[in-house]
């Protein structure tokens, strides 16, 4: 290749270029393709119409998640309960027929391995460092936590990958986001990524691939890194990358689809080369100090509308940019909030702990630790906890976390996207307010008229107990520092 120092992104890119065209567009090989029910039917249909096959079914994995109800899927006799919504049922049936017809590996809606596609990939060892990984879903960036160059694609691209195992891409610019220092008490990976988006805005990363660097990320668990990379897209970036390290190898080793034996050793040898070289340059960079980050909440209808829980709703007039001022007025109107209102005074009726951002075992453990021996406030109408996969659910049950949630007044559900988006039965009613561990607070995201405040799992637990947005540090004893 070249002796020029390269970034992690450039190394992965270079290793996957099949050929480059004169205009700089490259045909890039795709190592991993995750498929779900919502963005794939039209792609399979396209293959069928053109008489094409799936080129590498062995590199493809399908699982339903977006519109599956999270209520029980089997009746008392172990028979499958049909999905009531006709269109959801039709999408699921289409996926089942397509994986059968095209020979794609599939985790059925009732299997223990089923879950949110971005939880399942890492959990199964399907996601590996240095791979190119795509899925018809914008939160695919999550897999970058393991050092995979992972990004969301549209359905035409899903069809392109199914047929050719490649994509036509232009190289991205690179963006180094460095967070050094130790996170404060009660401050989590979610607060870090919200702080980043608060700084960059939702378009700050457009055209870039982010590499997360610095001691705060080196010390972060793989599950925390998955939370951070998951929301790279909320900052406009197509992908977010963490260089693989010992934590990564320890996380992957022994997972069902991961390499083993001699293949494992060879893989690790290659993965160890996947670091940004000394002297490689990034097109853009941002630095934050971990100690400046507080537990965060969002106040508006864009993930960049971030403020510390101790803060107040900003005055739209305080924004320099005129369009931001107009957007803020609209947001506050939609959210039913006014400038100067203290975030801790904002009451909520719904709590959602789940989504591909925060539904892994560490998230559930953290929320359960806050909820243990406590109960949700009277004003809470619904508190849902939705594990990211059947395996997460089993693990949580083995640890007794389900009991803690249920005793605290939460509903313990089957895995799926649930209340993260309004396309299955789990929704927030119009005009009501939800403290949610998901990744998007867009208008109507959790159902028409629903008001979403993005928070970490421990902050969602704190909001459940208080019936309002609350500072989890006040509930975690006197270690507040």
């Amino acid at each position: 290749m070249t002796d020029k120092p390269r970034t992690l992104y450039e190394k992965i890119w270079d290793a996957h270029v099949v050929e480059t065209r004169d205009d700089g567009t490259a045909l890039v090989y795709i190592d991993r393709h995750l498929v779900h029910e919502v963005t794939s039917p039209q792609a399979f249909e396209g293959l069928r119409l053109a008489g094409r096959k799936v080129r590498r079914p062995d590199l493809t994995l399908a699982v339903p998640d977006h519109n599956l109800p999270t209520t029980p899927r089997l009746d008392a006799e172990g028979k499958r309960i049909p999905i009531a919504d006709a269109e959801s049922a039709q999408q699921l049936a289409a996926l089942e027929q397509n994986v059968e017809e095209f020979g794609v590996k599939y985790f059925d809606a009732t299997s223990a391995e089923q879950g949110i596609v971005h939880v399942v990939g890492p959990e199964q060892g399907f996601t590996l460092p240095g791979t190119t990984l795509v899925c018809g879903d914008s939160h695919t960036a999550a897999h970058g936590a393991l050092g995979a160059l992972a990004f969301g694609i549209g359905t035409s691209e899903v069809e392109h990958v199914l047929a050719t195992q490649t994509l036509l891409l232009k190289p991205s610019r690179t963006f180094a986001i460095t967070v050094d220092g130790t996170l404060g008490y009660g401050v989590t990976a979610k607060d870090v990524v919200l702080a980043i988006i608060g700084r960059t805005g939702t378009a700050g990363g457009t055209g870039h691939v982010v590499e997360y660097r610095g001691s705060a990320f080196r010390d972060m668990s793989i599950e925390g890194r998955l939370t951070v990379a998951n929301m790279a897209i909320e900052g406009g970036a197509r992908s977010g990358l963490f260089a693989p390290d010992q934590l990564t190898y320890d996380y992957i080793k022994g997972r069902p689809m991961a390499p083993s034996g001699e293949a494992w050793d060879r893989a690790v040898e290659w993965w160890k080369t996947l670091v940004t070289d000394e002297g490689a340059r990034f097109d853009k960079s941002l630095r934050l100090d971990a100690t400046d980050i507080a537990p965060n909440v969002t106040w508006g209808t864009s993930p960049e509308d971030v403020i510390a829980i101790t803060g107040s709703v900003p005055d739209p007039e305080s924004f320099e940019d005129a369009s931001k001022r107009i957007a803020a007025v609209k947001s506050l109107d939609y959210m039913g909030l006014h400038a100067g209102q203290r975030m801790e005074d904002v009451t909520v009726e719904h709590i959602f702990i789940g989504s591909c951002t925060n539904s892994r075992i560490e998230d559930l453990r953290a929320a359960a630790a806050v909820l243990k021996g406590r109960h949700v406030a009277d004003r809470i109408k619904q508190a849902l906890v939705v594990p990211g996969s059947g395996l997460v659910k089993r693990q949580a049950e083995a640890e007794g976390l389900d009991r803690i949630f249920i005793e605290a007044g939460f509903e313990w559900r089957e895995p799926g996207c649930s209340m993260c988006l309004g396309m299955n039965p789990d929704r927030v009613p119009s005009g009501e307010r939800c403290a949610s561990t998901s990744n998007r607070n867009f208008m109507g995201r959790q159902g028409p008229g629903a008001r979403t405040h993005l928070v970490s799992p421990v902050m969602a637990a704190a909001a459940a107990i208080k019936g309002r947005l609350a500072d989890v540090r006040d509930l975690m004893g006197n270690e507040r520092g």
Binding site: T25, Y29, P41, R52, D137, E157, T164, S323, A327
Partner: protein, 197 residues
């Protein structure tokens, strides 16, 4: 795909910034297994507001949308592009687009034209009374008032749009190069194929 060259007609003077894909097509419309019929759900939430541009008879069936910065941000749903096509939109003009949206738009033969904010302001003004014309070959947007804005476009995208070419077919013709890569890569990364789980 239909070849695209001239897009001419009335334009929705939309102008809104950060139009996300939930605004273009709400999630409940994503359950379809077909590409057609999504126009009915396009901009559903905005259409509830009286006086919105999408229900204004002056712009009925307009083939162009003039929008603000960061059009199509949010999710990767290609339904956003299909919804626009189904409502008859062939081109969107904005100061910037989200990466995923502009890729999806391109693959479905929708032209995304990037022009600076001053040009957008002018086009929004013109659109309220008069048609706008986009000439892809010459990369210009013009109005009946002698406005003439030149835009840049990736040459590959331009030739695909003008020729109505199918990208999957083009890549399948490179099957040998892909197979060569796979053979070489199997030596380098023998561990790549997932263990059967």
């Amino acid at each position: 795909m239909e070849p695209v060259n001239h897009v001419e007609g009335r334009a929705y003077p939309f102008g809104m910034k950060n139009v996300d894909t939930d605004i273009i097509i709400p999630a409940e419309w994503l359950k379809t297994i077909s590409r057609n019929g999504l126009g009915k759900g396009a901009f559903e939430a905005l259409r509830k507001e009286p006086g919105n541009v999408f229900d204004d008879p002056r712009y009925a069936g307009a083939p162009i949308i003039v929008a603000g910065d960061n059009f199509g941000c949010g999710s990767s749903r290609e339904h956003a592009a299909w919804a626009l096509i189904d409502m008859g939109v062939k081109a969107v003009i904005a100061p910037s687009f989200s990466d995923i949206f502009s890729g999806n738009a391109f693959k479905n033969g929708i032209l995304t034209v990037v022009l600076p904010q001053e040009a957008i302001d002018r086009l929004v003004e013109v659109a309220t009374t008069d048609p706008i014309s986009i000439d892809l070959e010459h990369q210009t947007v013009t109005t009946p008032f002698q406005d003439r804005f030149r835009f840049e476009i990736d040459p590959f995208r331009k030739s695909c749009l003008m020729g109505g070419l199918d990208e999957v077919g083009l890549t399948m013709a490179r099957g040998d190069a892909i197979a060569t890569f796979e053979r070489m890569d199997a030596q380098r990364r023998p561990w790549l194929v997932p263990a059967a789980a």
